[in-house]
């Protein structure tokens, strides 16, 4: 292992929710044995790819410290999230890890002006500063996303376009100069002609401000376009993680293969459309062994009994019995 400073370190994080009423003892483990790190000296765009119900939003909440893990550890610059107590430390965490939400129209209070909202954010994170200083911070953040206070002006959220508003919500997130941005499906509500502007913006923020970005999405194509590293999450487990280019050109895990095959190529007739059995992932969370085994074309007996461990195959980590025979215990 190289000697680099860990900015964020997630080790074996686990979060479960109880299913059904208070008397039910069925449990869904939404995030299970997830481990990854971000490094301070090497800003990264890490894409976390998963389908609906894969646990990707739970994971983003864990990273944002909106939820605390049941077991395992999440450390930000060496301090465990459980150890942070009190308003001051909470604010300190929030200053360093900021969210960008999916729907910009819901990020802003429709009854408040956008610039007031941004000013309030600045004064909340830097209490005791003069209004002029707060204004400077807001202006700087807006400039970084290609807007300006003059442009946003004294307008309400509905008076800005979706693309502008999503930029403003990115500006809000970078006001406290965070080290990590967590963007949960940030472009799915943005128009096609403006989508790439937001995606390109992440790249710029990484390059100019050195911010690490955790980009959570279901869309492999944009993830391929911007991210350096990628992690595929399936029913709470990271099934494959490593370098984006390497994984998406030669996926190892059968689930990643399925995702890559299913991603529509925007060239006429380039994707073969299968019309097979309807696949459902409903019962997969409760499955014993590998959660993907029921749908996996290469499932073996062991897959239905034992959850595979994360093993390093080639240059990246895979969680599959096909590659980890020696490690399966």
């Amino acid at each position: 292992m190289s000697e680099t400073i860990e900015l964020l370190s997630v080790q074996n994080a686990k979060k479960s929710f109880r299913l059904g009423g208070i008397l039910s003892n069925k449990e869904i483990i939404a995030v299970n044995e997830v481990s990854f790190s971000l490094f301070a000296d090497k800003p990264d765009i890490l894409s976390i790819i998963g389908e609906s119900g894969s646990g990707k939003s739970t994971l983003s909440r864990l990273i944002l410290r909106l939820l605390l893990p049941d077991s395992g550890s999440i450390k930000l610059e060496g301090t465990d999230v459980h150890a942070m107590k009190g308003r001051k430390q909470e604010l300190d965490y929030m200053r360093r890890v900021q969210p960008i939400f999916q729907n910009p129209f819901e990020t802003f209070n429709p009854l408040n002006r956008v610039d007031e909202f941004l000013m309030a954010t600045a004064t909340n994170y830097f209490p005791g500063e003069k209004p002029a200083q707060a204004k400077e911070r807001v202006e700087k953040a807006l400039q970084a996303v290609g807007l300006s206070l003059a442009e946003v002006g004294e307008r309400y959220p509905h008076e800005l376009s979706g693309g502008q508003l999503q930029r403003a919500s990115v500006a809000r997130a970078i006001i406290p100069n965070p080290k990590i941005l967590v963007a949960d499906e940030p472009v799915s509500m943005v128009d096609a002609s403006l989508r790439m502007s937001i995606v390109n913006l992440f790249q710029e923020l990484k390059n100019t401000m050195g911010t690490s970005i955790i980009y959570i999405t279901h869309d492999l194509a944009t993830a391929y376009y911007i991210s350096d590293r990628i992690a595929i999450i399936h029913k709470g487990y990271f099934v494959e993680q490593g370098d984006t280019e390497a994984i998406l050109s030669k996926p190892k895990h059968p689930y990643t293969k399925l995702l890559v095959e299913s991603t529509l190529d925007p060239r006429p007739g380039a994707t073969s459309l299968a019309d097979g059995e309807v696949s459902t992932g409903d019962e997969e969370y409760l499955a014993v062994g590998c959660k993907f085994a029921a749908r996996c074309p290469r499932a073996m007996d062991i897959c239905r009994k034992v959850q595979p461990a994360e093993t390093i195959v080639g240059n990246w980590k895979v969680r599959c019995h096909l590659y980890g025979e020696n490690n399966a215990s």
Partner: protein
């Protein structure tokens, strides 16, 4: 007899409201001419708010205030006599709905009644249009039809929330195709689905279209979907059609600057090239810009674009485009 199934001519429609003495007119569909052929997979693409869902409503003959048709017609040519949907009586429309023109809707969760079992939904939607069948015969027909969609008959006895998103969408496809209609209108049928299920669902819709040899009008903002299923596409921008043509022509040689931009900015696996984007935002349809509606965002706009409205014309590329600059 022509090979057309549906034709719109100079269609112009607005949402008109009078609220607290303020009149507001939002021109959502402005001069749309479409000729849709039999046995064709026709795609309509555009951003949110460009009027594509309103256009679909008009094609299906749904026109209720505040939506008002100001000019133009929609002709359905699937019957012995051409039928003008805006002149037809409610009773005549009722006859062709579901039998001849049906609809696959966007959010499958909201289409199916959550307190009725799936079979009851079939009875509610489709049975009134198939009264020549006995109740038992109808049920038999539904079971066979669902079998063709790879759904077991147990599905009929479940409630919508018990099914996965992909299965629910299959049920709504089943509902829309049960009467083998000549035209099926699909509004963003796969937008809410996961990639794996999306591909399966598109495969299913494509297969059904081949089997029934009918026309599907598919509306989605996702050009990658159009690339893989549509035979022809129309690109909409701010209530007008800016380009129309064969899918392969549109993707290979887009003539309109807006289409060119859209296609160039599509992300693709295995392609790391930097993608550009358009400045600005789609116009407010309550007060659209004069001339070409795209000119405020168009990198190539000249003076003529700011005053004159371009017509949809055949260009060298083989597509029809509404642009003065395209040859």
């Amino acid at each position: 007899m022509s090979d057309l199934i549906l034709q719109t001519k100079g269609l112009r429609a607005s949402y008109i409201t009078h609220l607290y003495g303020i009149d507001r007119e939002v021109k959502v569909v402005d001069g749309v001419d479409l000729s849709i052929k039999k046995n064709e997979f026709f795609g309509i693409a555009g951003e949110s708010g460009c009027g594509k869902t309103t256009l679909l409503k008009l094609i299906a003959g749904f026109c209720k205030p505040p939506l008002q048709v100001q000019a133009g017609s929609v002709e359905f040519l699937g019957l012995k006599e051409p039928m003008s949907l805006f002149e037809a009586t409610e009773a005549e429309l009722y006859k062709i709905r579901w039998r001849n023109i049906s609809y696959i809707m966007q959010g499958s969760m909201n289409v199916l009644n959550p307190v009725r079992k799936i079979f009851k939904s079939f009875e509610d939607f489709a049975y009134p249009h198939m009264l020549e069948l006995t109740p038992a015969g109808f049920k038999q027909r539904v079971i066979e039809h669902l079998g063709n969609l790879r759904l077991s008959k147990e599905v009929l006895e479940t409630y919508p929330h018990e099914l996965s998103g992909g299965m629910r969408q299959r049920v709504t496809i089943g509902l829309a195709t049960l009467c083998s209609p000549e035209i099926i209108i699909a509004d963003e049928p796969t937008t809410a689905l996961d990639v794996v299920v999306q591909r399966e669902t598109l495969g299913l819709i494509k297969r059904i279209q081949k089997e029934l040899a009918n026309t599907i009008i598919l509306v989605t903002h996702d050009l990658a979907v159009h690339a893989n299923v549509s035979d022809r596409i129309a690109i909409m921008y701010a209530g007008t059609i800016v380009e129309e043509g064969k899918t392969t022509d549109i993707f290979d040689r887009p003539a309109h600057p807006y289409t060119q931009h859209l296609i160039r900015s599509l992300p693709r696996l295995g392609d790391k090239e930097k993608k550009g984007y358009l400045k600005g935002a789609p116009p407010n349809l309550a007060d659209p810009p004069p001339g070409c509606r795209f000119h405020p965002r168009c990198p190539l706009a000249v003076d003529r674009c700011r005053v004159e409205v371009p017509k949809l014309e055949l260009k060298k590329s083989g597509t029809m485009a509404a642009c003065f600059l395209a040859e």
